[in-house]
Amino acid sequence: MTEFNVSKKRTAIDGWFYKLILFVSFLWVSTYTAASTVVTNFQFDFGNLFDLTSPNFSYIVLMLVIEALVSWLFFELLFFLYRYVMAYSIYSFVVPMDRLKTESRLFFTYRNVIYGIFINLCFFVPYLHSWLPFLSIVISLTMVLLFALHINKAYAEPIIGHFVFKSFVYPVFIFEIFTLAWQVVEVLL
């Protein structure tokens, strides 16, 4: 096996590892939403959420896994679109594709861990839930900026640093602007 092939195999394993930890981070983020999608149904009782002997505990776990899976798949779709859009800029090729994928997933995992802390705080302070869109945008964009700076430092020569920075950051900002504009229209209407 050539050194190139060994490196390729190691990269593939790393790729799956980062996908797995990203999925786990989505489980963390989805805990509150999954527990809350169980409607307060008067006709029957689900028992205690943390009662492992309860026959409905598996229902909660399944809801959590499905919620996390949907979020993860949605992220992967958006990430594919992000890479597609970035490919129009030659500066995105400063970073090898496999490293780009793993680094992106790692930073998004960091974002999920921090965002998940605030979401799960809603178990204790439920009215914080209405402020999650604000926290989401602050945390997400901060992570994108940190990611772009990290990429710059690790892979880009200073002479093209600002071009690389623009390539990685602009698509996310444009996406967030459109999402927020939609939210503003929804609230005003």
Binding site: N56, F124, Y127, F134
Partner: protein, 467 residues
Amino acid sequence: MKKLKIFIASIFAIILCAFSCVGFGTINQNVASATSVATTYENTEFVGEVESVLNGFVSFTKRTPGSEGEKLAAKFIFAYLSGVSGLLPKQTAHIDGGVQKFTFESIFSGKYENSQNIIFEYKGNPDSKKKIIIGTNYDAIAYDSKTGKEVESQSVTNGASVAFALTLAKALVKNAYKFNAEIVFFGAGESNNAGSDFYTRGITSEEKSNILLMVNFDSLVGDNLYFYTEEVQDDFSNSMSDLAKKINGNVERINTVHLNKTILTEPNEIGLDYVHIAMISDNFSFMKGGIKTISFFAGDYSKNVVLGRREFAGKETIAYTANDNLDYIKEQKGENWLESLASVYELLDEKFCTSNFISELESVQNQTNWFYAIFANQKLVVFLTVVALVVMIVISMLLHFKLTVKAYHANIETEFLNSVVKICENVSEAENFDESIPAEVSKVIAEDIKRDKMIKPDRKEKKDKDK
């Protein structure tokens, strides 16, 4: 003969007087006798009265919203309140002799049905317009757990609230509290609180400012007794908590952390994007109108997160089932299960008797407005999110500028070549390197650098130019 006729006529007249009816028709009922003696209700006496009323009320086993059974239950309530001297049926343009009729769309039949609210008044302070409202819904519905079909049920979880509210209404007169109160029994409460919604829609803004508190009772059957005021504490809820601890009863302020929250797809009428079990009773209709409420209910919500309604620990819920009857409840809680309700009465009695009860309510009327202004205000959240986005855009522009300055001072020749090589290696596979790519890449980068004026002017060239 003449004397005999007079004697028979007198007996007949006495019999007629003894069987005279008041208000709605005649009903075979076990109604406690009317009293106008103003002596304070002792706890045991109060509980005894509740039990007596409850035994009579639960005989109406089919109180589906909009049904004849619900109407009969309304007549029972009307007859009881009419028998308490000191309580008067409310009379306005829309409330006729204590009965407020309304039409609602039933969530059970899908059709428009008719129901009624029963409204009586107590004037403890005729000089004041301020009042509190005491209310509960009197309708109920039950289903067979296996077939899902509607069944008859005593619905004691609801019946206990009705019996408690009726007895409390009598206690208002008996204890001669020094404030005004309106006692309202809502119809069609199980159909999305139709009765309380209709009632609150009819309140003018002036009337709303005079309503200091709404005391609601919802399902007083369960392991523990709780009260709920709002999502945040204020002076009123703190004083109720302190008083509850002082009387050493078993009523406590619900810790809503233990209640499962259902996230809503859009914010509800009070601006929160979630709901839980303490917010779905008739008190919610008043919360929507910005009126302070306190809702008493029972269950097992003491630890961890409880999903759904639960009356007794480790047991299936009984509300809306055929198990919602006196025999089953006595089996779970014992024969003297109603005695626990004495704590609720004691708490309310202590509170009602405090000299600053009304003034305290007046002072806390707008105390929690800040909470709704911050946490139930979608427009504020969106506005601040826009501001956050703008701030992040500014930060990214500053970082971009910093990188641009750094690039300006970079070593053009060395770094340019390194960048080109790196990009070319990544674009093509290591084994399939195309030699034409570096030239193309160099051309693109050189144009970008030139356009951004990244090349530092040569000092010697500049001096020659000046000359």
